[in-house]
Amino acid sequence: MKHLSIELYKKMFLIRSAELQIQEIYAQDEMKTPMHMSMGEEAIVAGVVGALNAEDQVLGTYRSHALYLAKTGDTERFYAEMFGKVGGCARGKAGSMHLSALGQGLLCCSAIVASGIPVAMGAAFANKYKNNGKRVAVFFGDGAMDEGVFWETINFCGLHKLPILFICEDNGFAVHTRREKRQRFSSDHQLFENFGIKAFEENTTDPEIIYNTTRNALNHLQTTGQPCFLRFHYYRYLEHVGINEDFDAGYRDREEFLAWREKDPLRMQRQKLLGQGVSLALIEALEHEINAKVEAGIRFARQSSFPAECETYQGVFQCA
């Protein structure tokens, strides 16, 4: 229990720390890639990924800093990709919006809304075909459910009972547009039931609740074969794309943010650890270690070289 709390805190702290560094140095224009920040959603990603096995696979969107860090624990290839260096997870060709780590189970992050969802279905299909026991969790925003391909996918997954979790990271907005302006549907349970999919929902910044919900979903999948849809609410701290706040834009209130920040997942979990009797010294040591890892990642990225110009033409095909 305590162990789990610490593990989840570490995952979250890595994400937060890594993004704080991005905020810190983005203005230096070394990272020429559009940043869709994860700040605010750390508990979701840490909780879900924490509940998965290492062999399980995930897919994400353009907003996948958290997912990459939680799934891989790596900071070097992460930052090198942000810096556009050959040491990056895609040799600098993909940038912030298209992180991947095939060996560690992050299969694809697509910047076209909802487009990773059917790809995740394909990955789950393959796992079932090979009967290898791996599960797939696909992360997407509430906006993805606007797209028809989402509905096509849940239908097929429900029909074929594919081993997949749909993780909706619901921040109530697609860019600046509220969910109510885009989606008429509301009652998950009833709706997804109809597609043979079990729905779960949590409105929390506690990664352990998310962890447990995910475990329940995985159990449900295991015992019934039914895919699960998990909706987790959170608040996007920063602007849609970029590293700044945007409460002056007028489409949402700073008050809302402040209410959420009261329950900031990092602060809450840290308090919980202290309450569980974890010593401040231990926590600080962990934090220190993670911060050092983040700094090491940035150092690595800075030292890595830019790809040679000829690399522009490489990697288009596997078999030339």
């Binding site: 991947s100 694809c108 059917p118 075909y129």
Partner: protein, 346 residues
């Protein structure tokens, strides 16, 4: 060697690859039903079972995503579309995801998948069931695009496509299904990116795609009787393209007609015309000419369909103009009409 149909050649390629490699599976709307995609998927369900040969909902977008995800996880999907027009619903997956998967992970892995799309004229199918579009897909970097014409090419290129670690789109013209040719029984491959000299000649080069090779050959026979010796080049693969075989031929003949089974404007015929005009500059006796679909949506009524589609007669007429040949009396000539083989209903 054995003579078999193009349809059977494809069927054989699919079965041999599925026997060889358990990661190959085939799916799509109607794939396992009794019509068997014009016969090309016959016996597959029976042999390999529903896990490797299955039908789908009518949901091209997500079903294409399925191919990509399965390919990432080590399978080799073959997704079949009975009309290429339906691929337009999957354009996002194809052009935004599949084409850039390898590049987007820095070349770490590819997406070995095959998309079979059937094209070609039917029984007054009209503007929503008549497109070809190999040029549209060829324009997107990261996709390989092939248009096999002969049964041998159909088998050899299909096997290569399945084994290839990149996404390959295969355009199959339905009229070719009934064409026969010699095909080895054993499995064999034909490399992508190598064209084929369909017929040697010295006076003019016709670069023809897919069914247009059949029409070009017919035209060449007529023209031969009137003293014009045409060379026909089938590029077979649109991406990668065998530029050399085209350029060498036109350097020899000095004249080039591109007969493409698609619209000409911004199409593959424009690419070939641009390529030839540039690389054979100074060796051309006349401008490169192009034949393709009329620049209109495809009409349904036969009389207008005949205007819309290129064929042997139009090739003859164009070559006459290009070579200064007097108009040939074609009144006795019987041109290919699918009607003679295949009556309605569609």
């Amino acid at each position: 060697m054995r003579m078999i149909t193009y349809c059977d050649a494809i069927n054989e390629a699919l079965i041999q690859e599925m026997e060889r490699d358990p990661s190959v599976f085939i799916y799509g709307i109607g794939v396992p039903d009794h019509k068997k995609i014009f016969g090309t998927t016959k016996g597959i369900l029976e042999k390999f079972g529903p896990a490797r040969c299955f039908d789908t909902p009518i949901a091209e977008d997500s079903m294409t995503g399925l191919a990509l995800g399965a390919a990432i996880n080590g399978l080799r999907p073959i997704h079949v579309h009975i009309r290429v027009d339906f691929l337009l619903l999957a354009m996002n997956q194809i052009a935004n995801l599949i084409s850039s998967f390898s590049y987007g992970c820095g070349g770490a892995a590819g997406a070995p998948l095959v998309i079979r799309a059937i094209v070609g004229r039917g029984w007054g199918q009209g503007f929503q069931h008549s497109k070809s579009m190999h040029g549209t897909f060829a324009k997107i970097p990261g996709l390989k695009v092939i248009c096999p014409t002969t049964p041998e090419d159909a088998k050899g290129l299909m096997i290569t496509a399945i084994r290839d670690n990149d996404p390959v789109l295969v355009f199959e013209h339905r009229w070719l299904y009934w064409q026969t040719g010699e095909v080895a029984k054993d499995s064999f491959t034909i490399p992508l990116g190598r064209g084929r000299v369909v017929k040697e000649g010295k006076d003019l080069t016709i670069v023809a795609t897919s069914w247009m090779n059949v029409e070009a050959l017919h035209a060449a026979r007529i023209l031969e009787r009137h003293g014009v010796d045409v060379e026909i080049i089938d590029p077979r693969s649109i991406v990668p393209l065998d530029e050399e075989i085209i350029v060498n031929s036109v350097n020899k003949t000095g004249r080039c007609l591109v007969a493409d089974n698609d619209w000409t404007y911004c199409g593959f015929s424009a690419e070939v015309a641009a390529l030839v005009s540039s690389r054979c500059f100074g060796r051309l006796h006349a401008p490169v000419e192009r034949l393709g679909f009329a620049q209109t949506p495809c009409p349904t009524v036969r009389r207008l369909e005949n205007v819309f589609y290129p064929n042997a007669e139009k090739i003859v007429r164009r070559v006459e103009k290009m070579t200064g040949l007097a108009p040939i009396d074609l009144s006795g000539e019987v041109f290919y009409s699918h009607e003679n083989r295949f009556k309605g209903p569609f």
